[in-house]
Subunit: 259 residues, 2 copies
């Protein structure tokens, strides 16, 4: 039974997140429905590299599923993108080894969180940015962001209800990029905990606008969600890409937390 891998771009505002939920339009449920329609066969389950929250966008979500025989991939991508037009596009499709799992095989992934920092409300980027009008101390934010690189206990920066077995995660890159009125927080890691990137973004903003006076190392050391900042709204978050340098490597370190 061949395994098919798709790369997806989607507008998070069109879905109630990745995870299938009774009575809600989610990426997983819509994709499952459309794949069965196009392929005319029962699909067991569609796996994703990470379960994006309601409202979170993706430029490079990676998913996989098993089919009875290799379909016409060109027709498949075209049909799925046409049926879900404007909400979701399939940007790539491939047959991958049976051992491939979009989450467990992932080597690293990048998220970015975009803040529009000016007085005037968003127009061109409406729905893709968190609009902040308060003064921000970029230097403090930059320093706090850079402190996250490495392996840390992220208890202070994950959702209180996060179900992951371990709060320890490794961050490979963590930086603040400034361009015109945009403040973009970019983070690369092997895996993330529930709401982790949104809580990091909210904490950076709270540090920048002077609502949080602890340093990032102090916040991490507290191992208490109350030490961190607000959870930034989902619409500013984008899953940029997931990297699989060696598709044969199956790593079980990543847990199944919703990001």
């Amino acid at each position: 039974m061949p395994t098919i891998r798709l790369i997806l771009e989607y507008n998070g505002s069109c879905f109630h997140g990745w995870q299938m939920q009774e009575g809600l339009v989610t990426v997983q449920s819509e994709l499952h429905r459309v794949l069965e329609l196009v392929l005319r066969e029962k699909i067991h389950v569609v796996h994703a590299s990470g379960r994006t929250d309601a409202g979170v966008h993706a430029r490079g979500q990676v998913v996989s599923f098993v089919v009875s025989k290799v379909p016409d991939l060109h027709r498949l991508t075209h049909s799925v993108s046409s049926i879900l037009k404007g909400a979701l596009s399939v940007t790539d499709a491939a047959v991958v080894p049976d051992t491939f799992h979009p989450r467990r095989s992932a080597k690293k992934k990048q998220y970015s969180y975009t803040i529009l920092h000016r007085k005037a409300p968003a127009v061109l980027d409406k729905g893709y940015v968190w609009h902040i009008t308060a003064d921000l101390d970029y230097e403090k934010m930059r320093e706090a962001a850079s402190c996250l690189v490495g392996t840390h206990d992220f208890t202070s920066l994950r959702a209180a209800q996060c179900q992951a077995n371990s709060p320890v995660k490794t961050i490979l890159e963590s930086e603040l990029c400034l361009s015109r009125d945009y403040v973009v927080y970019r983070v690369v890691g092997k895996g993330f905990l529930q709401h982790m990137v949104r809580i990091i973004a909210g904490t950076l903003i709270d540090i920048g606008r002077g609502r949080l006076h602890s340093s990032m190392p102090e916040i991490l050391a507290a191992r208490d969600r109350r030490a961190g900042g607000v959870t930034a709204p989902p619409f500013g978050l984008m899953l940029d890409w997931v990297d699989y340098d060696d598709p044969e490597v199956v790593d079980s370190e990543c847990d199944d937390a919703q990001e």
Copy 2:
């Protein structure tokens, strides 16, 4: 009577272009209506740096108007942005010398035209890109774009019905930028003729996909609109910024063509 200058960001899909037209929602008519409402006085006319076509977006359109007395600029920008929420934002407001005219005083302006070049349709940038699936020869497009720098007769690359007195314009910068699946054509000039940037973008695409075999110098030399390529759709075009190094310089070279 003080002159007020505003910088505007707008989503072109919300308006039938800049120019006031009976019975149509245009940027000029909406802005005029809202300014009179907020300032509680009759505004004679609102001038712009250029009359963007229906569907063309702006990140930095510059406009001006005369008022009886200097208003509270903070309140003005906030009120206009709130009333036209999601369609138009005022990103800056200032009192400028009476000699200031957003088009005549402009030293140079930048437009960019964005093409999404891939098989999958647009999702995240829907409404802001021209989706092209055909193969494109980037090198030929790059070369053609670079040939436009300098002073040329743009008869082949302006709308057949363009009313400008002279077809001669000076282009300061003209380049193709490639980034992921995006091909962005960026052009800086003192002024532009009707549909000029959209026709340049369409001509570059026609050269890139092999529909046009003439070189850019040959197309210009023909001085015939039929020598150029298609007019690219308006939604891929963005007025990025207008530059006024010396606000006192009033130059009459720019004509009043719709761009």
